[in-house]
């Protein structure tokens, strides 16, 4: 039924260099995003250097909501929604894509809050990996309109 290994259906993202302009520096998401670009043979250049495209990241937004109340009528479960707005620009700072966003939602049990801070950090780290995958996928199609909708 037409299943093919990734890479046959569509060629990889044809991008050789990227500069990331982020409102905040040295954040966990930036680290994961940089590694992901390097894994896809796209080198990430420093602030001053020239790059084919510039990825602008705004602040990561975490919305934490109580979604369950325990028998002690206190919060027993939280929902974490992490979103990362981003947009691509060319070297003359002209927008190449419209403002985009990656978003992921996870729930976190809090009926026993022992060690919940470390658990939340582990969960956020996993959510950031998911956000990075979403950013790469959306960028793949937005930066290469000819790939889009070949069908």
């Amino acid at each position: 039924c037409g299943w093919q290994v990734r890479g046959n259906l569509l060629p990889p993202l044809a991008l050789d260099s990227v500069r990331i302009a982020s409102s905040e520096q040295y954040t966990p998401l930036l680290q994961i995003l940089t590694d992901a670009f390097v894994e896809n043979d796209i080198d990430v250049v420093g602030a001053g250097e020239k790059a084919q495209y510039v990825l602008v990241l705004e602040d990561e937004d975490l919305r934490k909501r109580t979604v369950g109340v325990g028998t002690d009528s206190l919060a027993a479960a939280f929902e974490l929604q992490l979103s990362q707005p981003f947009q691509w620009f060319d070297t003359q700072a002209v927008a190449v894509t419209s403002p985009l966003s990656a978003i992921v939602t996870r729930s976190l049990d809090a009926s026993d809050t022992t060690g919940i801070e470390r658990e939340q950090e582990l969960l956020l780290d996993d959510m950031r990996r998911e956000l990075v995958q979403q950013i790469l996928r959306q960028s793949y199609f937005q930066l290469q309109p000819e790939q889009a909708a070949q069908e």
């Binding site: 520096q25 040295y26 369950g68 028998t71 026993d112 022992t114 060690g115 919940i116 889009a148 909708a149």
Partner: protein, 817 residues
């Protein structure tokens, strides 16, 4: 006062005649807007350097002094346009006098009057019997005498203004002295009177009000509310803009049944730090009112002092939040909250924490360095449980961590080490003679060979984990019993090797949904985990047999899809758990081939255990869930259709017991016509861990399954009416947690929100309160909030309640301003 100018004369254009762009920018509920017909030449020089170009029916110039112009006079001078019947210009003094149907126009400003005086060499204008319009701010009004100074400042005697439509103004602020600073978005009024539907409603000696959205120094609008617990509440916030990066809001709050509270919010922004300090102080609390307490007193269960424990106390709250180093490798975080007593958050609902059923507050400080190879951190953390019966004994001070990542070629060496010192926290009120305190050092060194291809990945990893303690007996408190002496090893140590293999493949094919082309992926993933076993019985009774099992900050992860690919069963570091298991996970994503957006992702997985794990937290209560060869099935669904629809759901099905262990789903829908609907369901089956037949211990909270639904909706109806509603229902105990219903009427320049609310008035220290809820445990309140758009909102409580409980409402509020 010349005849009241018709709306058209004030540049008011009804919706029908508006262009589409103008229609789109029209705020909700408005049926027209001020359109500024005049646009000065872009490069207009300042007034004093520009000649006046005048036209009139006839002009008379006497020498080079007085020039008189009559008949449809029009004077244009740089950024300013003046129109009148008669004008007189004194060339030497630059004095210009206009009489008869005078109009003064600048970009975004219109003044109409009978008479006006101004000077050709400055922007100042002085006008009698004036009507004025500030187009961008949607402000219009009139004044006995109006003076405009420089760029835009308007000072008025006997002035009034509104943001409503000119001919049917719902509210109007009148004042003997009124001044508007549209450039810096604020206005001030002396001896002001607020009239609603032409009825004087409020007299204010002096007030500062925002015309735009920034807050300005001065009295902000007072806010009112009523609740059975605190009676009538009246808060008068005073905003003080100390410096460009520092401001303070001081809010004295009168509470009928408690007394006077002073609340201070201080915000400071520096290039490195962003700091916010919140402090509240209530002297000599009058106790408030609690129907449940009254019943207990009535039937003699409690004395007055027991029912109202905080009567007469001074009660306070301090909250400090600071983040630093946004641009630097060194970042700092401070999250410090302290209270006079745990009931403060329930009794004095000033902050928003009360709406989130906060379970605990913490004193936390952290400084971290993120290098290219090493991430280092130093922190201290003390958590205070508001439900004192579930308070944990330990605080962690300090906690040091160092995580390193070296890579050569394909090889990657990871070093994670954590050192912590645990001691008793003063908030723990149970006997401590069976507890131990001490330092813990946990390190995990592993070598990996991650291989990545376009179609998949393979990551073998081997490593070793080491856990060592330096223990001694905890100080004996809250009991007369003595602590046993330390007969066992005070520095237990556990070491075990671990290995894992992570394999994944990516398959893709074209697919279709309606007319949008999709790419469907199929992503199988295998994760084999082997953790060596090392006997940890030394930790089950660390120093003597009466000691409780050593556990500073660890509990079991609850099983869900995230757990499939984790390398430990515990969320803390107090155990090196053994494992010999294979996790299988399959994910399928449906990705739009146009935008790359992930419209749907389905995942399913399970863990196959080759051996039953032996390491437990507490030998007395081993969880038998792990004895099964195959774990529960875990699934996840997440869906997203542009900005309008979002669903995320986790499911865990236990095929050994043929029951659903947990199911959570949250759906958010919002559309262009501002409809917001959100539904959140959560089910968590919890085995009742009371030994069968044993009667319940009042102190203990027994696990009862959690089965709750929370639905929130904001439905605009016809015209400017909208329905608001929320129902948060608990099926296990068949009771409503928080329910409100109401409506919002959103007119062009004001908005009314009325809401009836019934909410569970939880008491932190009542143990398993949901089991024994009676009708008296509910608080009922009627909330009304009148917001005069562009002026202020009467009570901020409603807005924050809706934003907290209906996802998407906060975003709607932001773009409403």
């Amino acid at each position: 006062q010349s005849n009241t100018n018709s709306a058209a004369e004030l540049d008011w254009v009804d919706t029908e005649q508006l262009s589409d762009i103008e229609k789109s920018q029209l705020p909700a509920g408005c049926c027209g807007t001020f359109v500024d017909p005049y646009s000065p030449p872009a490069d207009a020089l300042p007034v004093e350097q520009t000649p006046i170009s005048a036209t009139a029916h006839d002009i008379q110039a006497e020498g080079s002094r007085i020039i008189e112009l009559n008949g449809q006079v029009r004077l244009e001078q740089g950024p300013r346009l003046l129109q009148t019947e008669r004008a007189q210009v004194d060339q030497r003094t630059g004095q210009v006098t206009l009489e008869g149907n005078v109009t003064v126009r600048e970009a975004g400003l219109l003044i109409r009057a009978d008479r006006a005086e101004l000077s050709t060499s400055s922007e100042d204008v002085s006008v009698d019997n004036a009507h004025f319009v500030l187009h961008q701010n949607r402000v219009s009004g009139s004044a006995g005498k109006l003076q405009k100074f420089g760029e835009r400042l308007l000072k008025m005697q006997r002035g009034d203004f509104t943001t409503c439509e000119p001919n049917n103004a719902f509210w109007r602020l009148k004042a003997r002295e009124l001044s508007l600073h549209p450039e810096s978005n604020y206005g001030t009024a002396k001896n002001a009177r607020l009239e609603i539907a032409d009825i004087p409603v409020l007299y204010i000696p002096y007030i500062i009000f925002p015309i735009g959205d920034e807050r300005q120094t001065g009295l902000l609008f007072p806010s009112f509310s009523e609740s059975s617990r605190n009676g009538i509440e009246y808060a008068q916030p005073i905003y003080w803009n100390i410096a460009p990066q520092m401001d303070a809001t001081i809010t004295p709050r009168y509470m009928e049944k408690r007394g006077n509270l002073l609340d201070v919010n201080l915000r400071h922004l520096s290039s490195y730090f962003e700091t916010e300090l919140d402090a509240g102080f209530l002297a000599d609390d009058k106790g408030g009112y609690d129907r449940q307490a009254e019943n207990d007193i009535a039937n003699g269960e409690l004395t007055e002092e027991e029912a109202y424990p905080h009567k007469g106390d001074d009660r306070w709250l301090v909250q400090l939040n600071q983040t630093g180093g946004a641009q630097s490798r060194i970042k700092t975080v401070i999250d410090y909250t302290d209270l006079s007593d745990v009931d403060y958050l329930r009794d004095i609902t000033s902050g928003s924490t009360d709406l989130e059923y906060a379970a605990n507050i913490r004193k936390f400080g952290q400084i971290t360095y993120s290098g290219d190879i090493w991430n280092l951190g130093l922190s201290a953390n003390e958590v205070r449980y508001l439900n004192e019966s579930s308070q944990r004994p330990y605080k962690e001070l300090p906690h040091l961590y160092a995580n390193g990542r070296y890579s050569w070629g394909d090889w990657q060496l990871s070093i994670d080490s954590n050192y912590s010192q645990f001691d008793l926290t003063s908030y723990y009120q149970r006997p401590t003679n069976t507890l131990v305190v001490g330092d813990r050092l946990h390190s995990d060194i592993s070598l990996a060979l991650p291989k990545r291809w376009q179609w998949g990945y393979a990551t073998p990893r081997i490593g070793v984990r080491d856990l060592r303690y330096q223990l001694d007996q905890a100080a004996v408190k809250n009991t007369s019993a003595a602590a046993g002496d330390s007969i066992y090893n005070t520095s237990p140590e556990v070491t075990a090797a671990h290995a894992s293999l992570d394999l994944g493949l990516y398959f893709e094919r074209w697919s279709q949904f309606g007319d949008t082309p999709l790419i469907q992926t199929l992503e199988p993933r295998l994760f084999y985990l082997y953790n060596g076993y090392d006997d940890q019985s030394e930790l089950y009774a660390p120093l003597n047999d009466s000691n409780r099992a050593l556990n500073f900050d660890t509990r079991l992860f609850r099983m869900d899809y995230n757990q499939l690919f984790r390398t430990s069963r515990f969320n803390g570091l107090d155990r090196i758990d053994d494992a010999n298991q294979l996790s299988v996970g399959l994910t399928s994503r449906f990705i739009s081939a146009r935008t790359g957006e992930e419209h749907l992702a389905l995942s399913l997985g399970q863990i196959y255990r080759f051996e039953t794990p032996k390491v437990v937290l507490n030998p007395e209560s081993p969880s038998e869930a792990f004895s099964y060869r195959r774990s529960e099935y875990v699934g996840r669904i997440s869906a997203r259709a542009s900005e309008r629809f979002r669903l995320s759901s986790d499911l865990v099905y236990d095929q050994n017991d043929h029951t659903l262990t947990s199911a959570s789903a949250s759906v958010e829908y919002s559309d262009a016509s501002d409809r917001l609907i959100s539904a959140t369901y959560r089910y968590q089956r919890q085995v009742d861990d009371r030994a069968s037949g044993a009667d319940p211990d009042p102190d203990l909270v027994y696990n009862r399954s959690l089965d709750q639904l929370d639905v929130g909706a904001f439905i605009p109806l016809t015209g400017s009416w909208s329905l608001i509603g929320r129902a948060n229902y608990d099926f296990t105990f068949d009771l409503e947690l928080d329910t409100y219903a109401g409506f919002e009427y959103n007119d062009c320049c004001y908005r009314v929100r009325m809401m009836w609310r019934k909410w569970l008035n939880f008491d932190y220290n009542s143990g398993n309160q949901l089991e024994t809820v009676t009708n008296d445990d509910y608080d009922r309140g009627f909330f009304i909030d009148l917001q005069l758009k562009g002026l202020a909102s009467i009570s901020d409580r409603v807005g924050s309640l809706l934003s907290k409980t209906i996802p998407g409402y906060a975003e709607r509020e932001d773009n409403l301003q």
